[in-house]
Amino acid sequence: MPSAFTRPIAVFAAVFILAFSSAASAQAVKIGIIGPFSGPFAHYGTLFKNGAEAYVASQGGKLAGKEVELIYRDTGGPNPGQTKNLVQELIVKDKVDYLGGFVFTPNAFAVAPLIQQSQTPTVIFNAATSAITDKSEFFLRTSYTLWQVTVPLAQWAAKQNLKKVVTAVTDYGPGIDAETAWKSEFTKQGGTVVESIRMPISTTDFAPFVQRIKASGAQAVYTFLPGGPPNLGFVKAYNENGLAKAGIRFLGTAETDEFDLQKFGDAAIGLTTAFHYSAAHESQANKQFIAALKKRDPNAIANYASVGAWDGMYVIHKMIEATGGQKDGLKAIASARALQWESPRGPVRIDPKTRHIVQNVYLRSVEKAGGQLVNKEVQSFGPQSDYGLDK
């Protein structure tokens, strides 16, 4: 029970501990990681955390000889207001040197003025709307954009003699982005989009949409769905209603992501996607990445979000190296613009102009290997930049 006598002592002790601990970590480079760590999207937070911490551990716990302190902040879901407050606090009170993370586009948009003013380099691990890196010169991105993966897929489809395609996307920001990207590139290649279906985000029964796809007379369906339940529901309906048997091909991007992949069961075999990362990518770097993840947490999943965090930490690592651990946002960003390295996904570089990652996009097909479903890379489309920003 706090009496009048004990309270001042407690306050004094608290102040003392605070002062002491901040003095002790004065040399550490502070990195704020923004993501959902609770609520329906909490698995993204876990993927970020595993990817980022596995990277730091793989470098012996220090980046460029400096101690690093990762400070996690929970946004719950798409919540621009709260994200702005959290980031302001990180910049002003915790005095972070770098920021990383961001699952949702609106959250990233919200912090653009803050990082611009405080010159805090911010690496986007996931949020995939093209325009983000335009909003501040301190944004870098190690994920992908829908344009980046959709354009090569549309070009490939046209070469496969697919003339008529129907698009079926979830009716929200990224879905519309995907639909526009497909339409613009596929018609440019001489194909026809026979119907554009937009599925409400709350859809649980996909059978009607799948029947419409069947009735449209298309040879393939290009689709975009958010991960989790909608994804599983659509693929299930696609199979149960006999679309694969009717010869209507499935063309997607992130739908067969490793987080959901095993849950599809054998129904997923043969699904075709174009994407930048597969956990089955054959390379030394990818093996090291997966080993580092498993060492941190045996259940950790290697997918686009954890590889985004891993590469994001690599970029931050190189910025710390370039600035000698000093807080110098301009110098850090200037050094990051020229980066190129071997990522677990393949060779990548930062586009000096857009500060977005340039990477190979692969055509993949779901196969069974050793009792597990994998995204087998069938063909590389070579390095792709973000076509969304060229518009």
Binding site: D171, M199, I201, P208, F209
Partner: protein, 289 residues
């Protein structure tokens, strides 16, 4: 013609899933007048038990289904006997606050124990295929839901209107004091009815999982849908819930075929119109609503 048939088939199948998920609430909220916002959580528990038994313990689906239903029923009975009975005479606000609190607790517990990912119930080969209807195919699982929904609706309606237990139940809800003075064991009736409501929620969780996948937020995500079904159907009428679920299912499905850009607008518009037409629901029981 093909389009109309498609709308009807998919609409009935979807409507029956809605009914199977809502029927438990139709018992606890509709018949017992207990504002049970933890209905979704009971359905989730049923689904999780079935998922665990079929996937981890290797049980057959046909064994896991009754086991999951029994587990949620027992859990409902225990909860009713220990806690919820004290809430019957409290205000509706207390009932809302307690049951929604329970829901949040169960969401967090599920998330902590089983993780945030979707849980799948392993279906037997018989259900895991498509049935050819001549003009199109339909998943076999949906046919099971159609039959189960009809059986549940008819059995429940018969029990409430034609059996002694049904008489006791109606008496216990409408005039508890008189009923108890007449020697009706109202405590046992209440407890048993709540247990049946919870068991039916569990049944809905298992059978509906193909369309409403099981994950921790299940408990809240589909609560609005089931509340709509019970409200439109009429408090206390299981057949009303069935008709409401089927008509709303057909409306929703037709809008997906014809006007998907409008999202769920027509579903809620239909709800508003039906409630404006019959504020007490399609088949409300008695004047006490």
């Amino acid at each position: 013609m093909q389009l109309l048939a498609n709308v009807l088939v998919d609409g009935l199948a979807y409507g029956m899933v809605l009914f199977v998920i809502a029927v438990g609430l139709s018992v606890t909220l509709g018949l017992m007048r207990f504002v049970n916002l933890s209905h979704g959580a009971f359905a989730m528990i049923g689904g999780y038990v079935a998922a665990l038994l079929t996937r981890e313990a290797g049980w057959s689906f046909w064994l896991a289904l009754p086991a999951a239903v029994a587990t949620t029923g027992l859990l409902g009975a225990a909860l009713e006997a220990l806690v919820l009975r004290h809430l019957y005479r409290r205000s509706e606000l207390s009932q809302v606050l307690f049951t929604i609190g329970l829901t949040f607790f169960l969401i967090a517990a599920t998330n902590a124990l089983a993780g945030p990912q979707v849980q799948q119930i392993k279906l037997p080969p018989l259900l895991d295929q498509s049935v050819d209807l001549g003009f199109r195919t339909l998943p076999a699982q949906r046919l099971l839901v159609l039959c189960a929904g009809l059986v549940v609706a008819l059995t429940a309606a018969w029990t409430v209107t034609r059996t002694r237990f049904g008489v006791w139940l109606r008496a216990a809800v409408d005039h508890p004091d008189t009923a108890s003075a007449l020697g009706i064991p109202i405590r046992a009736v209440q407890c048993a009815t709540f247990a049946v409501g919870a068991a039916l929620a569990g049944l809905g969780g298992v059978l509906g999982a193909e369309l409403m996948p099981l994950e921790p937020y299940y408990a809240l995500k589909y609560l609005v849908l089931v509340l709509v079904v019970v409200a439109v159907g009429g408090m206390g009428s299981l057949l009303g819930s069935l008709i409401a679920a089927l008509s709303l299912g057909i409306v929703e499905t037709a809008s997906k075929y014809l006007a998907s850009d409008w999202g769920s607008l027509f579903f809620f518009l239909a709800m508003a119109l039906l409630l404006a037409w019959r504020p007490n629901g399609l088949l409300s029981r008695g004047a006490r609503a």
